[in-house]
Symmetry: C2
Subunit: 435 residues, 2 copies
């Protein structure tokens, strides 16, 4: 069937719905270079203003998902559950989370991304483990899932090529901030992993893409709906991202913190989210209630099987497991600078966006896609919202390699903290759960 | 100054205003091939949804207007007033109008278009006069304006090149129906004619682009505002286009009807609009009130000077003036078909869109830009809204050359008329005047 793209743009512009066939045709034609960029960009802008119905979005996502290869994990005799975060600062949750869930007998075929802008990326953090490779042979993918219960890799080029092309066009045409376009981009990639269930961590706050709970709820609901249309159960948890997660913001230091969580020695917030997310993933894999799921998670942590799974994963993906056994050996930049509290008081803000941006300036992240990441630089946050500080006490310790980059980072980082003269309370970490 | 187009798109998308410099930069870059189509089309779609402020639209129009050559008519020692119609069916008003105004001592540098879709074009109608050329040497333009008081030509390629390129992109990207984009397209071309005033005929109804008075008022107000920003007085008149204007719909037959108007023998509606428009143009040229303007117009008609001006114009542009003296000699297609009233009653609709579309099928207009026009085919409308008809009486006489085209035209034309059993009244011809 052939359609007139001008007519399809016009109908979307006027608020009418397109049929699944029409939407699939657009994706197919664009992926086949048979639709000019200027027509798709006008269409995407019309979608940004008019939205997509549930039926439209399901068809659009399905067409993207089938624009390239789709994983076939039918030989894996376990439930396959993944987790995706919309991105935050200090968000290393995936790294301790996946080995816990894998240790509980669930397969985690985790495909992650790299850091861009103020948010870090799981792949960059993993690569601070010497030898660790995030590109594994597709042939061993299913075997490793069966054997160790997890893989932690980058997305292959052959999966969802439509998303890469459409995302590049959106990036150049001001059509990024659209809930249907964001959610179809995320969901097409995750559903191409042949999952039995998906946990979404939708971040809300200054360091997140979604600044308000209302916006985050809309995005979360939309993605849960897409999952339902694809017969894949999705749980979405809205979590706070006004301040960084945990103490470590960087790469090697985030691996250290991740290992600490696996040893039961992690910061409270990272540990709380990790246990909750692992429990939710076990629920998606069939566990009947949250309490029994949590008991299994705590057993995997206490018994050391989760830690052991992380060691085995590192080994399987070419990394040196001694850095998991002794994470203090990971290379951290040689110089330290202490950001001190300017006066006594209660911390009322510890702005995730400012700290994330300072991290990029320090070299821990990327301003542009081809920037190199320095695994050893970063922040250790000492004072988070709700804590008291006295004048001169450290708010954070910065590990840096280059004085100029430090100065540039400090120009932003110093504004991250506000110290109040009245007591403050830490924000709720988990804001809502949508199933 | 260099801007980031992604940022400009994003600001327009979010409802912010762009500065005149930013808008001019977009036009300049696009005209210089330095801005990709996919960015401009996304921007145009954002404009379609967000609109443009008066200041933005003035800057956008000004930048388009200066994207190429601008006429310099400073040597012409008369007021220069043009008229533009948004397009209708049977709308030949420009043809009798311009010679009347010219005969009153005002210069009319009229640049017109060709027919496309269901609406006819002044250039096509003029070319049904044997020898008449709508491409005149730019060097004689000012001289002919001084001498005869008018030119009737097509737009030259060198005027407002940005409009041609942007219009082609809009046509392919569903971004045509936007009031700021329509009005800047029209006004940039008209203001490039170095005018002292402009009369706009904004058509409203089934045969017009604007279907409602509210939409037409918005377009008219916007164009009057653009004129004011350019210090060029603009009068906009909203006129009814639910049924064709006059009796003739075609090309040669519309020239015959135009000459009849100049001889005081035209149909009431065409004559009424022509006299009103001519009077308004004299007002724009400095006449103090409508009554004295109208007296001058009637004198130009009654004395034969308007008719004489049409004869001189035809001669000056290579046409055979004997066809103006004896318009019955113009070639009309050899066969006639009568559309008869199916029963007695009052005509309640005589749908301009249906008749215009039937005209295209007959060969009088263009479905596509490169179609040829047959000057001799067309309709002579015998029954308009409000008149009584008896069964078998002619509703219209069709002049045709090809039986197949007639059948195709009749399939549409027959539905144009509705005959009511209760009396009907003709619609008001002039709906509003905006200055």
């Amino acid at each position: 069937m052939t359609y007139s793209m001008v007519e399809l743009i016009g109908r979307k512009r006027d608020g009418e719905s397109l049929t699944p066939d029409e939407l699939a045709w657009i994706i197919t034609q664009y992926t086949a270079d048979a639709l000019p960029d200027y027509q798709l960009s006008a269409f995407l802008m019309a979608v940004l203003f008019r939205g997509m119905s549930r039926v439209e979005l399901a068809a659009w996502t399905e067409a993207m998902l089938h624009s390239g290869d789709v994983l076939d994990l039918s030989t894996v005799g376990k439930a396959k559950i993944d987790k995706h975060s919309t991105g935050g600062v200090g968000d290393k949750i995936s790294i301790p989370l996946a080995p816990i869930v894998a240790a509980c007998g669930v397969a985690v075929p985790m495909m992650s991304g790299r850091g861009l802008g103020h948010t870090g990326g799981t792949l960059d953090k993993l690569e601070s483990i010497p030898g660790f490779s995030v590109d594994i042979d597709p042939d061993v993918f299913a075997g490793q899932l069966e054997d160790i219960g997890m893989v932690m890799v980058g997305q292959t080029e052959s999966l969802v090529p439509a998303d890469r092309r459409i995302y590049a066009l959106r990036d150049a045409t001001g059509t990024v901030p659209s809930v249907p376009l964001i959610s179809s981009s995320i969901m097409s990639k995750k559903l191409a992993e042949d999952l039995d269930g998906l946990l979404l961590d939708v971040k809300v706050g200054s360091g997140a893409f979604m600044k308000t709970t209302a916006d985050a709820t809309e995005l979360a609901t939309t993605m849960v709906d897409i999952g339902a249309s694809h017969d894949t159960p999705v749980t979405a948890i809205l979590t706070n991202m006004d301040q960084p997660l945990g103490e470590a913001v960087g790469n090697a230091n985030e691996i250290q913190e991740s290992v600490a969580v696996l040893r039961g020695e992690g910061p409270d917030d990272v540990t709380e989210l990790t246990i909750r997310f692992a429990s939710e993933m076990l629920m998606l894999a069939g566990e009947s209630d949250l309490l029994s799921a949590q008991a299994r998670v705590e057993k995997a942590l206490d018994s050391g099987t989760a830690f052991e799974t992380m060691v085995r994963l590192t080994e399987a993906q070419g990394g040196d497991p001694s850095y998991i056994e002794h994470p203090e050996r990971l290379e951290i930049a040689p110089y330290e600078h202490v950001i001190e509290a300017p006066h006594d008081g209660w911390v009322s803000s510890c702005d995730a966006f400012a700290i994330g941006t300072a991290g990029v300036r320090l070299g821990a992240g990327r301003a542009r896609k081809d920037d190199m990441v320095d695994p050893g630089v970063g922040f250790s946050i000492k004072a988070k919202i709700g804590t008291t500080v006295t004048k001169g006490e450290p708010l954070a310790v910065v590990s840096y390699r280059d004085r100029g980059k430090l100065d540039s980072a400090l120009a932003t980082a110093r504004d991250a903290w506000s110290i109040s003269e009245v007591p403050t309370t830490p924000p709720d970490l988990i804001l809502a759960t949508l199933r």
